[in-house]
Symmetry: C2
Subunit: 126 residues, 2 copies
């Protein structure tokens, strides 16, 4: 039986609404200022639970684990200039259709990872 926890609430609230895909470490550092005796284990424990419950998504970008409050299927773009991780609209249905053609298995989910230069960094360059 799941019981309320102030810490879990704070972790979730710290994540919702942002699009910068923080790591567990970043969330911990930020929350620590508001809740000085928050434990790092509590952050990891709750992020795992929230992911299992489908309330947040875990993504791996360039080897690092990051968290995303957006649980709608979508992909991510990594900027090689500034390191930003940007949400990309969900083209997965179309992508899955392309990949499914001629493949003998059953594709149920897919995510794509794009790499390049983000709009901001393109502007600066030009």
């Amino acid at each position: 039986m799941v019981k309320y926890s102030r810490q879990r609430e704070a972790i979730k609230n710290k994540l919702v609404g942002r699009t910068d895909h923080p790591t567990a470490e970043t969330l911990y550092a930020e929350l620590k200022t508001e809740m000085p005796n928050l434990s790092v284990a509590t952050v990891y424990r709750n992020l795992n639970q929230l992911e299992q419950w489908g309330e947040v998504n875990r993504i791996t970008v360039e080897g690092a684990t990051r968290f995303d409050p957006n649980t709608d299927p979508h992909s991510h773009f990594f900027c090689r200039k500034c390191g930003a991780v940007i949400d990309m609209p969900d083209e997965d249905i179309e992508i899955r259709r392309i990949a499914q053609a001629g493949f003998g298995g059953r594709i149920e989910l897919s995510t794509s990872h794009f790499y390049g230069v983000c709009p901001k960094c393109l502007d600066i360059d030009s």
Copy 2:
């Protein structure tokens, strides 16, 4: 100046031709039987080098780092039944074209990760 090393040769040879995307640990275990005093650090060091030289690819699947001798751009499929990681033909050009439409940045690379049931496991089920 790069010098020849029997170990690096063995690591590369152990990887080429296979499609099961082994981890560094798996490669080390297999090589250890042939080269009893091979060091785990040597395996990691050389895999990093081979990747930098573009001779092998590193992929992250379900949180684990695996290695792929196929350096042509292509995607991967993870079977949730048997855990196999299967190479998928490169639809990335088409996928990139779709994703690039309406995106202000510049997409240079992309990889997709598909998840579902592989052909073999579909057969067993039916």
